[in-house]
């Protein structure tokens, strides 16, 4: 009996896992004696999706980029025949002795997985799978064998710090909420993963929803709360669906509800869907949104541990933080401290994306260097291009240049570069990425997501955006750099919440490391990376153009000339740089230089 596992996270589905699953189901149903078919969440190898795993004979074998045709071959030869298909689809495996093989060996073997322990391994819709993997044993231990003080002490001893970005010690936060009295208390899970370029929490919710639920119940016991909310963004429909099923099955098994496991402790929880506002990732804005209001941040203090949701003491952590908790309770604080650094123990999940060769999820001990993440695990830069920078922390973060690639990722080292740890999004940039344009991109984001409460954030970000826009158009003024610096300081000083206080970070870090690029735009009207359209020429590549005339027909100013089946050319005098030729070309023959 062999088990077929299809990776059905959002990344797998968008790469085409559904038809593969449907075909395998037809095949599996024809031979119920020989195999079982199940699903899993994302194992992190998003760059090779859709993934199919065959378990059996003591082995686990992963196939990548599986199509319906290759799925059939895998079924006939491996599932029925017992011998793995040795072709380019076989990317990773673990044999009966625990040895690993395959070309993606380095991607998974160099990771150490606590948060992602079950992602890609268990069926997220099956509570039995989760229990078989040791799930809810932490909860049993916490409810039946530990006092709230002992739970908090264990979390404190583990040194777990909030994985949402700020890195506040979790045990300490819990002790505040536990120490405050209230008629009710709440546990809130921030699953409003809004940072563009971050998808760790989505993968955890889709791949292992019970870990988050278990962590929240343990937190409820520790601080004396009876109700929990998971605030999840509406852009993650699959995560919401799996969470709902997980909550239902946890309730049926008696892990949620009254008198859980006979301990006398009762806990219930509910999902609240976000409605599309980045600022709701800020905890006080998130509470306002759960309360049904406009998601505007509130003044702190009073802090949530004192007066949070509906003015009751509340503990708020993000998805990854809660997912760590059951492991810590089960395995003990010492075991958790054995990985990571002195001040940032444990592991951190990073979402590798952008120009990195192997985009996906990587969980590594804190203190691992950026170089190790991008090159050893991530396989370096796509198409052999030059590594330029990584962007960490999303719109609140900053760019860390290539020459600082030996920086360890932990809560102490990253802020020294001017970036922030953030929630774990790591967008890799190559030589073709313009840093002024990236700063403009982030300011455009924060400007439109500013809730408008604080003047400096509302108007200051708009002024910064206007300056950056004119620089990328080649119309920058000599005094613009000084203006950007001044506005950055003012916005940071005078904003109430994290959004405004960090909005200038992308500009400040790019000014710090890439001042020359700003100068080139302003003084020489050149974009060194060749990205800003107003400052580059559009060129047709001779070796790629097949002379289909499509670009010439689409050009609104008739700047393109050429005969059928002959290489076309663009008249730079006439060209208005609208980009229509690039989007219309089916051969990738039009490029910006």
């Amino acid at each position: 009996m062999r088990t077929i596992v299809v990776g059905m996270g959002t990344c797998g589905l968008s790469a085409g896992a559904q038809p593969v699953y449907d075909r395998l189901r037809e095949l599996a149903e024809s031979r119920p004696d020989a195999c079982e078919l199940t699903i899993s969440g994302c194992i992190g190898m998003c760059f090779r999706e859709p993934l199919v795993e065959i378990r059996g004979d003591g082995k686990r074998v992963f196939y990548g980029e599986v199509s319906t045709e290759s799925a059939e071959a895998i079924f006939q030869q491996h599932v029925l025949g017992g011998s793995p298909v040795q072709d380019e689809h076989l990317i990773y495996g673990i044999d009966e002795n625990g040895n690993t093989f395959g070309e993606e060996k380095s991607f998974l073997d160099l990771q150490s997985r606590i948060v992602l322990r079950n992602c890609g391994t268990i069926n997220p819709d099956s509570i039995d799978d989760y229990e078989a993997a040791g799930g809810y044993s932490g909860l049993k231990k916490a409810l039946t064998g530990m006092t709230p003080e002992e739970i908090i002490q264990t979390v404190k001893d583990s040194g777990l710090r909030g994985r949402g970005g700020a890195g506040f010690p979790t045990g300490l936060k819990w002790s505040f909420a536990a120490g405050n009295q209230g008629a009710k208390k709440f546990v809130v899970c921030n699953a409003d993963e809004g940072d563009p370029g971050a998808f760790m929490d989505r993968s955890v919710l889709e791949g292992d929803p019970h870990a988050v639920i278990e962590g929240m119940i343990i937190c409820g016991k520790a601080i004396g709360a009876g109700f929990g909310y998971i605030y999840c963004r509406a852009e993650y429909p699959l995560a919401i669906q799996r969470l709902e099923r997980a909550i239902d099955s946890a309730r049926k098994k008696g892990y949620l509800g009254k008198d859980i496991l006979g301990s006398g402790f009762s806990f219930e929880m509910k999902i609240k869907q976000g409605a599309g506002a980045f600022v709701c990732g800020e905890e006080t804005a998130l509470f306002a949104s759960i309360e049904g209001e406009r998601g505007m941040p509130r003044i702190r203090p009073p802090f949530p541990a004192e007066k949070g949701l509906w003015q009751y003491p509340t503990n708020n952590n993000n998805v990854e933080t809660y997912a760590n908790v059951p492991w810590i309770i089960s395995n003990g604080a010492e075991a958790y401290r054995s990985s990571g650094t002195e001040k940032s123990p444990g592991t951190k999940v990073f979402a590798l994306a952008g120009k990195v060769a192997k985009g996906g999820l990587a969980e590594v001990p804190m203190g691992t260097t950026i170089e190790h993440l991008v090159f050893d695990i991530g396989g370096g830069i796509k198409k052999g291009k030059e590594f330029k920078a990584v962007q960490m922390g999303g719109p609140s973060g900053g760019c860390i240049p290539a020459d600082q690639k030996d920086t360890p990722v932990d809560f102490e080292s990253i802020p020294k570069t001017g970036a922030i740890m953030g929630s774990g999004g790591m967008v890799v940039m190559d030589e073709e990425t313009c840093m002024v344009e990236i700063a403009r991109f982030f300011l455009n984001f924060t400007q439109s997501e500013s809730c408008g409460k604080c003047t400096f954030c509302r108007i200051g970000t708009l002024r910064m955006l206007e300056i950056l826009e004119r620089i990328t158009r080649g119309e920058g003024l000599p005094e613009d750099i000084a203006k950007l610096e001044k506005l950055s300081v003012q916005i940071k000083e005078a904003s109430l919440c994290g959004l405004g206080q960090t909005a200038p970070n992308p500009v400040q870090t790019t000014l710090r490391y890439y001042l020359e690029e700003y100068r080139a735009h302003i003084e020489d009207h050149k974009c060194p990376a060749g990205e800003c359209e107003a400052l580059v020429d559009f060129i047709i590549l001779e070796d790629k153009c097949v002379g289909c005339t499509l670009c010439a027909r689409n050009c609104p100013v008739d700047a393109i000339t050429g005969k059928v089946k002959e290489v076309h050319t663009i008249d730079q005098e006439k060209c208005v740089k609208c980009g229509k030729c690039i989007t219309s070309c089916n051969f990738g023959a039009v490029v910006k230089r």
Binding site: I240, L352, G354
Partner: protein, 166 residues
Amino acid sequence: MKTAAKKESFSYRLWRYDGAPGELIPLLQSAQEHFGYIPRRAISYISGATGIPESDIYGVITFYSQFRLKPMGKYVIRACAGTACHVSGAKSIIETIEDELGIEVGDTSEDGLFTFLTVACIGCCSLAPVIMVNDDTHGRLTPASLRKILKEYRRKGRETTEGAAI
């Protein structure tokens, strides 16, 4: 947008409303699911049931990008404009959609088939650039592959006449 939320009808949710706090946003989400957008009369119904002034409800609707005050097309295209997609060519994807459908971001096509929006991040960064059409995600796009996908939806949309907006 279709989500996994309990498929209770909008009218049932209104009837069931018992004054519990924090129900405004779920009610609005339910209205949007029912009508495809939030019509003027839905605001009146909600205000009547909850006692929340219509002006406050309007304030909440306009704060969140999910809520729409105008009808949406049968297929809602959300082009990801997140960081990873941005550095992987989201701009040419957005321009291709605008070109192909003849509408700009925020608009609905005249035949009522497509509404085009951008979204900050779908969380499929490793498959960038990405779009979502209703609840289906399409990744690793190029202008050419995107045009194929759009043509397919247009064909499907014109063939099937049944089914309300989204």
